[in-house]
Symmetry: C2
Subunit: 246 residues, 2 copies
């Protein structure tokens, strides 16, 4: 059975309080085992994880960094408020968030929202994904897997790709440890970050601009086993250690 990838079309502009899960369920007929990828931006708008820029008071630290990044100090303050560790201050802020995710501007954004408003990443994206999964089960009776996505840069390669911010009904990593290749050798590549591979393709379908497709459904994907240890911690990550010495 071929895999199908279904963009969820026709969603309106989302605002706090909108019944986003209901709106998605009205536009797609879920089947058991489907994977729903949802843009974090839209999840955050529906759930009020947004801020008004002119209600933010910038700290001295935010003012200092804003001079280097040429951004509004209040926008920088919003980023710092989401940040547990600043890895790089300029040319752009690269920081770790409370979930262990490392991203440019801590995933804070002012695209696809009204002027003067800021979108934050969901504070508990794993809980968000689990909540969506439960709601969909309640509304449709179907057991759907969920990934919350964001668009994110990376090193060595230009351009952004979609990554997984939260997930439910699957593990982030497909673990091949102990598995064998076609010739019986024990595998060297053992941890495939499948949740990011699915999120990336969903992001390709969504696009970055005014496509209006914040949700994508994957049908007939395999299941896998593994673990959820997607984020390197500071000691494990060679590249991060090098950056911090800078």
């Amino acid at each position: 059975m071929h895999i199908q990838v279904i963009p969820v079309e026709g969603l309106p502009i989302i605002h706090p309080g909108d019944l986003l899960t209901e709106m998605i369920c009205e536009r797609v007929t879920f089947e058991d085992g489907d994977i729903l990828c949802l843009a974090s931006s839209v999840y955050s708008k529906a759930n009020g994880y947004i801020r008004k820029q002119d209600e933010i008071v910038a700290s001295a630290e935010a003012v200092r960094i804003a001079q280097k990044t040429h951004e509004d100090p209040r926008f920088v303050q919003a980023i710092l408020d989401e940040t547990t560790d600043v890895i790089l201050e300029d040319p752009f802020i690269l920081s770790e968030t409370v979930t262990g995710h490392v991203g440019v501007r801590a995933g804070v954004d002012h695209s696809n929202i009204e002027d003067g408003m800021i979108i934050l990443l969901p504070p508990d994206p794993m809980g968000a994904a689990a909540g969506l999964q439960n709601e969909i089960a309640r509304i449709t009776g179907k057991e759907v897997r969920v990934i919350i996505t964001d668009t994110c840069g990376r090193s060595f390669r230009r351009g952004q790709t979609g990554v997984a911010i939260g997930w439910s009904g699957m593990t982030a990593i497909r673990d091949f440890r102990g598995d064998h290749d076609l010739f019986g050798h024990v595998l060297e590549i053992t941890e495939e970050a499948v949740v990011d591979e699915v999120a990336g393709f969903a992001n390709f379908i969504m696009g970055e601009s005014n496509n209006g497709v914040p949700a994508v459904v994957f049908r007939n994907c395999t299941r896998w086993t593994g673990h959820d240890n997607l984020h390197f911690n500071r000691e494990e990550d060679i590249i991060r250690k090098a950056l911090c010495k800078k």
Copy 2:
């Protein structure tokens, strides 16, 4: 029209001289606009980009690095032979290849090949993708787009994902510069590395072990415009600059 993702099943173990394109065309009915993703490992085996480890003579440099990485010095030599710049020597070799691709062990591998044999990345992956595209047009009369993939690590996030090594019939980056979001703001995220997003999902379908699916076809994907400047050069890449100071 929904996107379909079709694994190419039933391919045998591939050896130098095998008519890989013919073998793929026998197993899938291509349509105009399809995207074929092909694992670089299989392309390299078919085209003889493999080496016998015991025919390699390790240099003093290879011996020195092999002591740190706990690998066979001849395997390290094969990696150095594919490398134009060593970024990191241990705990694993991270290096740039002639195409500008940065990868662990320069993409050199001894999985999914006979004992004592080594698989290299295709030396001209852009040419490889264009050649495949032409051959498929000749065999089937269809205009198919092609991506050559490899499995690759990344920073900040654990686990490997599929990335694009070569491509034809598309640009690597989808360029959103000058485009607007749903509220008319000029976009901040402007360069989406769509070729990696597609390669990543193909890699998810392939898996890393004995699945025997080195080729995946994507049907009904959009087309995009942009550029092919996928690899940061040394000066552009903040993270690489930090690593090199190490």
